[in-house]
Amino acid sequence: MTGILRETASQTAGPYVHIGLAPNQAGFDIFENNFGNVLVTPQTKGERIHIEGTVFDGSNTPVRDVLIECWQANAEGKYNSPGDRQPGKKLDPAFRGWGRACSDFDTGLYSFETIKPGVVQGRKGRPMAPHINLWIVARGINLGLNTRLYFSDEGEANAKDPVLNLIEWEVRRKTLIAQRETRDGKVVYRFDIRLQGDGETVFFDI
């Protein structure tokens, strides 16, 4: 490929990723404005949801130093990004659709406060079921892992989703489905991620 540069090599985020990307969790206060795991304000349109889960390594031990970023469309299914030119869908000025969360150093639990995204037009006009894109980095992960979170109460849309259907092994598709429950009147989706071994989460080369 003459004339094409190589992408800069990836390196692990290391154990101290929090210093750079979530300094409050590292134990100090430096920036006025911190990027975090709350994607919504009171003005954001859409159904409020809480996502939580644990990332497990190949020995089934929680990964307590992981950082996860999410990227999603708004309640109408539009990304807050100049590349999204889907006709007829409006931006929500109170929703960027991006956030980052760290697992708790003790429990290993991560969480996001967000809204459930709408359907996004996929390639060749095939609709994609509501989903959230996740990017996972940590010590021991040499190249950030990409996956998608889908919703357990979207069975019909999930069954037609072009990306889920691309996964040849039906048994592996369920690793991408977050399970809906109601807790204290709030909607909670549980999404555990298994880096390796039994029930290994599907990761994508995107």
Binding site: V17, F28, F31
Partner: protein
């Protein structure tokens, strides 16, 4: 190529030979944190070609000044340096408005982090993190203290070369990248397990910042140059399948 790519066009396929493998036993922590199944390759959709947009007003005026952004009652200890460079894509086009976040140990090789137990001293005037947006030419710059090397538990006498961590967010989700920058001439580079698992010398060289005398500030700071290449966005010929406009 008939036209320049625009936002919403897709990116060229990732060349995985540019990156260390997920499973790299020389870096022991990767053994249990690496998937065993092949990644599923996706043709990009809007979910992959879009990305969040960051605005200058979200960052503070001293966020790219690591010498001063955590100083309490004096200057941090260590060598004052400037690090600068360009963020481009694989077609050498500048990536404007990319979010560049950096973090590092202090001159003693100690991180300001509750989990770092190394005996090297904390510096009360040094935090070790900064962030900035690239300008219209993809250019970024910050000043800091040159970090020190430090020992880590891999083999018992493994030492990390001095390095600065980078996280870069471009204008497509597929461009998201975390890496580390090393310093020209550091003798620890030759034996670092985390660096040696990068599959080619060419790619390792790409992670080593070169001293840049042209950017020195006389009687004040030395400078290093570190350029970054993100995935290339290509003009989609004939029809835009990503947006779903053609059947």
């Amino acid at each position: 190529m008939s036209r320049a790519p625009v936002a919403g066009d897709e990116f060229m396929m990732r060349d995985t030979t540019s990156h260390p493998p997920a499973y790299a036993p020389a870096y022991k922590t990767s053994v249990l944190r690496s998937p065993r199944n092949a990644l599923i390759s996706l043709q990009q959709s809007l979910s992959e070609v879009t990305a969040p947009v960051f605005r200058a007003e979200e960052l503070g005026p001293r966020d790219n000044d690591l010498i001063m952004n955590a100083a309490k009652d004096g200057m941090p200890v260590g060598e004052r340096i400037i690090v600068h460079g360009c963020v481009r894509d694989q077609y050498e086009r500048p990536v404007a408005n990319a979010l560049v976040e950096v973090w590092q140990a202090n001159a003693s090789g100690r991180y300001r982090h509750k989990k770092d137990q190394y005996i090297g001293a904390l510096d009360p005037n040094f935090g070790g993190c900064g962030r900035m947006l690239t300008d219209a030419n993809g250019y970024y710059a910050y000043r800091t203290i040159r970090p020190g090397p430090y020992p880590w538990r891999n083999r018992v006498n493994d030492w990390r070369p001095a390095h600065i961590h980078y996280a870069i967010s471009g204008d497509g989700w597929v461009q998201r990248l975390i890496t580390q920058m090393y310093f020209e001439g550091d003798p620890l580079i030759a034996s670092c397990p985390i660096l040696r698992i990068v599959p080619s010398e060419e790619q390792i060289r790409g992670l080593i910042a070169m001293q840049d005398t042209t950017a020195f500030v006389p009687l004040d700071s030395r400078a290093y140059r570190f350029d970054i290449v993100l995935r290339g966005r290509r003009a989609t010929l004939f029809e835009n399948l990503v947006q779903g406009e053609a059947q």
